[in-house]
C-alpha cells in the first residue's frame, strides 16, 4: 500500500512542473527585490509611519519585516492561495482525480499528502521571500543592528534570528489561509474560483477590521494575526499576540481543513 509520504513526494514533484508554482515563488523573490530597488531609487528619504520604516536605510534586516507587514494585505494570501486553491481543483479540471482514486490509494491519504504539499509550498514561499529580503536588504542598507519596537538596539545576528522566528510566527495565519484555500478548492472544484475566493476572504476579513463599530473584533480577525510576529520585536518579548494568533488561526484553519476533508472524503467523483 502506498503511504502519505508517497503522495506527498509526488505532489511536490508535480508542483515542480506547474506554472503557478513559479508564479508564486517568483513573486516571493521579486517583491523584496523590487522593494529594495524602490528604497534605493526613492527621491524622498522621509520615514513612513509604519514599524521599522525609519530603519530601512540603516539596516537591511528591517526589509524582511516591512515586507511581512505589507505582504499581509494581499501578497502572501495570494501566493498561498495559488497552490492551496488549485491543488484539488486542478485534479477536477484535468479529470485526473478519478485516475488516482482508482489506484490503491485511500482518499484520506491523498488528502493528507496534498495538504502537506500545499503547506510545504507556502512555507518555502515565506522563507524564500524572507531570505531574499534579508540578502537584498543587506546589500542595500548593510547587515546592521536593528532597533526593536521597544527602542532597544538588537545586534545584527540576534535581529537575523528574530527575523526567522518572525517568519515562523507568520506561518500561523498563512496555515489558516492554506486551509481556507483547500476548503474552497474541494468545494468549488474550480481553480480560479478557489484562488480568487481565498484572496477575497482574506481581504474581506481585513475590511471587517476597519469598519466602524467593529473594533472589538480586531484581535480575533485573521488579518490581525499577520502582525503577531511584532511581539518578538519587543523587549521583553510580548507573547500575548503570538499565543492569541495560535488559537485564533486554529479557529479559522481547523474547521476549514476539517470541512475540506469531509467534502473530499464523501464527494462523488462525477467529473474529475
Amino acid at each position: 500500500m502506498p503511504s502519505v509520504a508517497t503522495v506527498y513526494r509526488w505532489e511536490l514533484f508535480k508542483l515542480r512542473f506547474q506554472k503557478r508554482t513559479y508564479l508564486g515563488l517568483g513573486a516571493a523573490i521579486l517583491v523584496p527585490i523590487l522593494f529594495v530597488l524602490a528604497i534605493h531609487f526613492r527621491h524622498h528619504h522621509g520615514h513612513g509611519d509604519f514599524a521599522f520604516a525609519g530603519y530601512l536605510d540603516r539596516s537591511g534586516l528591517a526589509v524582511p519585516l516591512v515586507v511581512l507587514l505589507f505582504g499581509a494585505v494581499w501578497l502572501f494570501p495570494l501566493i498561498t492561495a495559488l497552490v492551496a486553491g488549485d491543488i484539488f481543483a486542478s485534479e477536477d479540471h484535468n479529470g485526473t482525480l478519478k485516475t488516482i482514486l482508482t489506484r490503491s490509494l485511500e482518499r484520506w491519504q491523498l488528502f493528507a499528502g496534498k495538504t502537506l504539499a500545499a503547506s510545504t509550498y507556502a512555507i518555502v514561499a515565506i522563507f524564500l521571500c524572507g531570505t531574499v529580503a534579508v540578502i537584498a536588504g543587506s546589500i542595500q542598507s548593510g547587515f546592521n543592528s536593528l532597533q526593536s519596537l521597544s527602542g532597544t538596539i538588537v545586534s545584527a545576528p540576534k535581529a537575523l534570528e528574530l527575523v526567522y522566528v518572525s517568519l515562523l510566527v507568520y506561518l500561523m495565519p498563512i496555515a489558516a489561509i492554506v486551509c481556507i484555500g483547500l476548503l474552497l478548492s474541494t468545494i468549488t472544484r474550480n481553480s480560479a474560483a478557489a484562488v480568487v475566493g481565498t484572496l477575497m476572504i482574506s481581504l474581506v476579513i481585513q475590511l471587517v477590521g476597519i469598519l466602524p463599530g467593529l473594533g472589538g473584533l480586531q484581535p480575533y480577525l485573521l488579518s490581525t494575526q499577520f502582525n503577531a510576529w511584532q511581539g518578538l520585536l519587543r523587549t521583553p518579548i510580548d507573547w500575548t499576540p503570538i499565543i492569541r494568533a495560535a488559537w485564533v488561526c486554529a479557529l479559522y484553519g481547523l474547521p476549514a481543513l476539517f470541512g475540506a476533508f469531509l467534502v473530499f472524503i464523501r464527494r462523488d467523483v462525477a467529473g474529475g
Binding site: 500500500m1 502506498p2 508517497t6 503522495v7 513526494r9 509526488w10 514533484f13 508535480k14 512542473f17 506547474q18 484535468n94 479529470g95 485526473t96 478519478k98 485516475t99 488516482i100 482514486l101 482508482t102 489506484r103 490503491s104 490509494l105 485511500e106 482518499r107 464523501r266 462523488d268 467523483v269 462525477a270 474529475g272
Partner: protein, 312 residues
Amino acid sequence: MEVRGLVKRYGELTAVDGVDLTVNAGDVYGYLGPNGAGKTTSLRMMLGLIRPSAGTVRLFGRDPMESVTALQGVAGFVEAPTFYPYLNARRNLELLAAYDGHDAKRKIAAALDTVELSDRAKDRVGTYSHGMRQRLGIAAALLRDPKLLLLDEPATGLDPAGMRDMRLLVRRLADQGMTVLLSSHLLTEVEDVCNRVAIVRSGRIVYEGEIATLKRGAGTSYRLETTDDTLALRICGAQPGVTDARLNEHGRITLTADEPAVTVLSQALVEAGALIKALAPETVTLEDLFFSFTEGDGVAPGPRPPEPAHAT
C-alpha cells in the same frame, strides 16, 4: 463482479435504475447503450468513484465504497483516460505505479510495450493524440496486473485503424485470461470482442446474456419479393410462426420466422397466387437487436423472444 439493484439518482433524475448484472471470470462483457443511458454512471459506481443511491456492487466479493482494497485485481478507466498533461507518459505511469505500491513500477516498460508507446514514453502526455491517451490508459490499467478490466468506451473517438487496434488489444488481453467489461455504443466493437452483453436503456437493463443467445432468440429475418406483395403481406400476417412482416423503406417485405414456418409460408404464397421472386434470409446483427431494444417500445423482434430482460 456482481451488481444488484444499482440505483443512482440526481434529484429528480434517475440515471441508473435498478441495474443487475454479473460478470463471470473469463467473460468479455459488453455494456451497451446509447449516450446518456447510464453506462458511465454505472461504471463510476463499480469503481467506487460515486456512491450509489441504492444497491450494491461486489468486486471479487468486496464493496468498492468501503475501501480501496476492493479494487485489488481491478483496473480500468471511466470516460477518456486522464493523465497529468505536463508530465511525460513514463512519469505518469511511475506516479500511478507509486500509488499502486508493490512492484507496479517494474511493469511500466512491459505495459508501454504492450500498447506500443515505448518510443513516445518521454513525450509529455499533453502532446498525445486521443488514441495514444486511450492506449496509455490501458497501459496504466495493466500496471495493476488486473484480473478484471473495466473500460468505458475505449474505442470512442478513435480513427478506424485506432478502433481496430483497440479491439485487437482488448481481444489479446482477454485471450490472456483477463475478464473484461467494456461499455460502448459501438456495436461492431462489442460484437467483435464480447461474448456477453447487457443492453441498457434509460438507466435500466433491458437484456442481459450471451450475444449468441440473443441472436438465436431473435429468430431469422427474411426478405421476400413476390408477384403480389399486398397479398403476400396479408398471408404473412395470418401465417403461424411468422412475425413482424412489414414493408421496409425500400418497398420490400421483411419478416421474421423460423425455418419450418418459412417452408409453410412459401407453400401458402404459391397456393394463393403470390409467386415468389425471392425469399432470402438476412442475418440479424447486434445492431438490429440493439435498436430494437433501445428505440420504440424496446421489444426485441422475433418469434422466440430472448430470455427475459433483467430489468428491475
